[in-house]
Amino acid sequence: MLMPTRQTLLLVDDDPSITSGLAAFLERAGFDVTIAADGESALQKHAQSHPDLIILDVLMPRLDGRETLRRLRRAGHWTPTILLTQVGESTERALALEEGADDYLNKPFDPHELLARIRAVLRRSRPGQPSLSAAWILSSGNLLLDRRARRLLLDGKTLNPTPKAFTLLEYLMTHPDECITRQRLLDAVWGWEFPSGARTVDTRIAELRRMLGDDPNHPTFIETVAGEGYRFAAQVSSNLP
């Protein structure tokens, strides 16, 4: 009987205590893991082993994570990548959009969270093609989100969401058909843990729904996953750079 092929990961971090611990954890979770200690070595190993996904730290000697990712993308390699950093406000978001990472995770993190993120990115990745995270314009039915101009249009009419609500919708649209917990949304959109976390997210979701005319009981766009979080239910397509 043929054993299913194990997916391969390239784990890039200059701290051996992190790579050895995470590699063992990810191997146990069913992946084959290759380790690289800096960006240059990561580019070489990527060329040799063609991994299914890259986990890339940002601060590294010789060649940092951001530059490594930029070089990969410039060379036309769209290997799904999770960048181990936080994406904060506007300038970083613009940078992130141009880098073309598929997801972000900020240290310190629970390895189980990394595993969940790896699985989600692999599930929605389209081999050899850029992901929605790298798209400048996202559209879903009559809804159009221009990430560069920070503009939102519904039926051709411009809407004016608060910056936070815009970023929240942007995150949901780049992760369609994925149940995203409130905690994850807080981490990715707010960057902070808020004491009234769930309520903070719910308030902004309510703002978005009001603006989009989305009925929570029969949603077109944002679906509530009871006890979990939210899911962008409609299909999303992208206009790539």
Binding site: G88, F194, S196
Partner: protein, 309 residues
């Protein structure tokens, strides 16, 4: 000092010029019939010079003393800043030591555990230490990010935000049986909104509420009052707890400072520093009143500028 002497010399210049002019006119032009008129003119020039010298001298002295006071103030502020930085590092060292020691102990126990129960207990202790470090790191990051994070400037309904934060604080397992009295002054006029970042203001209110509940027992009363005064929104978080020692009231807003009462209570030591920073970013003001002897209790007062249409 050099520049001050130069200023004084320059300021005396009109006196010299005035004196010289009056001497020249009085000595050399005496053969002219309009002598008296010229003497008057010379005297007038002299007096004007004197007045200008006096004013310039006074200005230069004022400048000299102001700059000296300013330099003294800068030196003092620099010393305070250095001292506060040293205190911060001392406190950080302390706050890191404890969870790290807990982690080391947990690892040692995992190695020497003789049964599954002991091992499980050590793992649980390690997790508690990690949670503590994570909370500390999270709060440190918030403080540092507040320096450059763009502030959302939208109308915020403070009453509904306070209600939300009271609900969030009371829903924590540690405060499950607690109640907070809300007193909102809405009659005869409704409360105006304030302009600001709803999430950050919520965090500030939550930290004050969480502190009030943490440092009181279920026998105490915690009250939140909201009213308008002098074109400001005033938020008071009051409790009938044991109060804060006088020597701590001036320092509780410092990063990682833990007052005598707070050492045994879990927390990152950054909660009130975050509150102060958020309030300052909103052009507001925060103060604390507390007493420990008769009728002990504490009141934190936040003032935020109101938004008018």
């Amino acid at each position: 000092m050099k520049s001050t002497s130069r200023l004084i010399l320059i300021s005396l210049l009109p006196v010299f010029i005035g004196s010289l002019a009056s001497w020249v006119m009085a000595t050399w032009w005496t053969n002219v019939p309009v002598l008296l008129f010229r003497l008057d003119l010379a005297m007038l020039t002299f007096l004007t010079g004197l007045l200008v010298s006096f004013l310039a001298g006074a200005a230069s002295f004022a400048l000299f003393f102001t700059s000296r006071r300013h330099i003294r103030h800068l030196v003092k502020a620099n010393i305070e800043h250095e001292e506060s930085r040293r205190r911060f590092i001392r406190h950080l060292d302390h706050e890191l030591k404890n969870p790290l020691t807990g982690l080391q102990a947990a690892l040692a126990n995992i190695n020497s555990a003789t049964n599954q129960q002991e091992r499980q207990l050590s793992i649980e202790n390690a997790r508690i230490s990690i949670d503590r470090l994570t909370r500390l790191l999270g709060d440190l990051r918030k403080l540092s990010e507040l320096e450059h994070r763009p502030l959302e400037q939208l109308p915020v309904d403070v009453a509904s935000l306070l209600e939300e934060m009271v609900e969030a604080a009371c829903s924590l397992p540690a405060h499950a049986d607690r109640k907070v009295n809300l007193l909102f002054s809405r009659v005869p006029w409704p409360l105006s909104p304030v302009t600001g970042d709803r999430d950050l203001l919520g965090l500030a209110f939550f930290n004050l509420l969480d502190n009030a509940l943490k440092f009181t027992s279920s026998a105490d009363i915690v009250e939140v009052r909201l009213f308008e005064q002098d074109r400001q929104m005033v938020i008071e978080v009051a409790d009938t707890g044991c109060g804060i020692p006088v020597e701590d009231t001036t320092r509780i807003f410092e990063e990682l400072y833990r007052g005598a009462n707070a050492r045994s209570i879990p927390g990152s030591g950054l909660g009130l520093a975050l509150v102060r920073r958020i309030v300052m970013l909103h052009d507001g003001y925060i103060a604390v009143r507390s007493q420990q002897s008769s009728s002990p209790g504490t009141v934190f007062t936040l003032r935020l500028p109101l938004t008018y249409p």
